[in-house]
Subunit: 308 residues, 2 copies
């Protein structure tokens, strides 16, 4: 880190468009997902959340998890992960050959009950079993702490509760942690404060962040996270995604916007911007509506050049 | 500045929606502008760019500059400013009672010729006369350096040229400087580098920044500017604005998004978020199309709360 503004030399971006991006959409054909997967691999992405092994009734858009997973071995060298909601999902994932799992625990009961029909404590109680299943297959268990800053039902989430939850998740077997700004309300200073607090309590456990760009502050908050050394960031192609419980909520921070920001700041992502734009255009085609990504719409800065 | 992320205690935000925001729109009735002005004053704004004294043929949307200016004395205690393009405009402004002027010099010839039908050198040559006119009326002259990072015609703007231009502007009588990211391509590290370079050469001259949020990085870049101590930032209500020469260009950073970011980071702006949302809704009504502001659409974070 050098210069007037300190930023890291590189980050590890995880592409979550196929899971968080598509989960609230109307189901799209598996073949279309596989085209998008191929386009995402072509961007240089090395960490891709491919699907979720959850109830097809609860999330019809991801009912084809096994079918998608069957194609992942076509792309060696990429860490494909999947989200699960309980030990049964973990077994399904492992049986399908996916051994990098994300398990969500909402930091407060309001969202936990609405999203997963159980309390935070009940969700936390299953971390051990989920971790055990995936560890038995030689894999890893990441716990994503949802609504880590604000819960659309319960309001602001007490940071102390998030820290305690993070610690208990690690004690129960979590290999990694991720703080989720599920409804797109957090901002740079809150980001820095919570990351700092969780790190202090969970030293040695990799900590990532998952942001939504609902109030224009998504990349500013990502910048703040990177400035304090967070190197694992989720983003979704085209800014796909949303939250069914937050009015006006938009999608995740867009992969191509974060990659643009990083490239321009000298932060290596390994991603190719033009291929990201092509993948974002495909994502837009696949979901059948315009996506809000500025980089998709306006292009790289070289494309700002026009002829007189 | 304290905590894991250093930010300033307060900033001085300049509302530019009435000028930069409206200049590319179809002309709207003066009465509608005055309603918007009243709503903006109610937000707590203390610096408002009210109009531009430029050719009504070139910018028909601001042909009513004198009429708007005639109402500004109804709001004492607010610094109203106006943009001018030449000494004649400066005389018009002063005659209309506006004595805080912005004068634009594009940092490279491509944009300068397209925007103002003259070279950068020719524009720079008039700084002295514009400053002289406004100083004669007891006012101030700010030079806005447009396309300070990238020119849509000429490509990347050499920083050394911007620094030299800034120095010459100050030597010619500029009281303040502003770096304009006219086509929304700059990013945090480039921001920090150029601000640092200009400051070194123009110590003692207040330096502000003017950003567009074209590629999602507007607030991240504003955050970077604030982190290195830039306290004068332009923003437009609802994110109004754009650049006729940049494909896909969106408007300025939205006032309510910047104010939200600042409030959440403990940076005082003096602005009321709910009144900003009301003003943004009015701006949307006035221009007759949806604006892209996330805070306008999604609300304050307290509004994310919903009932079960």
């Amino acid at each position: 880190m050098t210069g007037p503004l300190r930023v890291p030399e590189s980050i590890r971006l995880r592409e979550v468009g196929l899971r968080d991006g598509l989960q609230i959409e109307q189901p799209i054909p598996t073949a279309a997902k596989l085209r998008l997967l191929e386009a995402l691999v072509a961007t240089g992405a090395r960490r891709i959340e491919a699907t979720a092994f959850v109830s097809p009734k609860a999330v019809p858009a991801l009912a084809d998890a096994e079918e998608v997973a069957a194609h992942l071995s076509e792309y060696p060298g990429i860490e494909f992960s999947a989200l699960v909601a309980n030990p049964r999902g973990a077994h399904r994932a492992v049986d399908a050959g996916v051994t990098a799992l994300e398990y969500v625990v909402s930091a407060s009961d309001g969202h936990s009950l609405a999203n997963a029909h159980r309390t935070t404590a009940q969700a936390l109680d299953q971390v051990g079993e989920v971790a055990s299943v995936v560890h038995g297959a030689g894999g890893t268990c990441e716990v994503i702490i949802a609504v880590a800053w604000d819960d659309p039902f319960d309001g602001p989430t007490p940071p102390g509760g998030v820290v305690a939850l993070a610690r208990r998740a690690v004690d129960s077997g979590a290999d990694r942690l991720c703080l989720g700004d599920t409804i797109g309300t957090t901002t740079p200073v809150r980001m820095a404060e919570l990351v700092t607090a969780v790190r202090t309590t969970c030293q040695g456990t990799p900590l990532g962040v998952h942001l939504h760009d609902t109030r224009g502050a998504g990349l500013a908050t990502a910048l703040a996270a990177m400035q304090i050394g967070v190197l694992d960031l989720d983003a979704s192609i085209g800014g796909l995604g949303g939250c069914p419980f937050a009015p006006g909520a938009s999608g995740n921070i867009a992969t191509e916007e974060l990659a643009f920001l990083c490239r321009e700041c000298g932060i290596e992502t390994g991603l190719d911007l033009e291929r990201l734009r092509a993948a974002a255009a495909l994502a837009q085609e696949v979901v059948g509506r315009p996506l809000e990504s500025g980089v998709l719409r306006a292009g790289d800065r070289s494309l700002a050049a026009v002829r007189r």
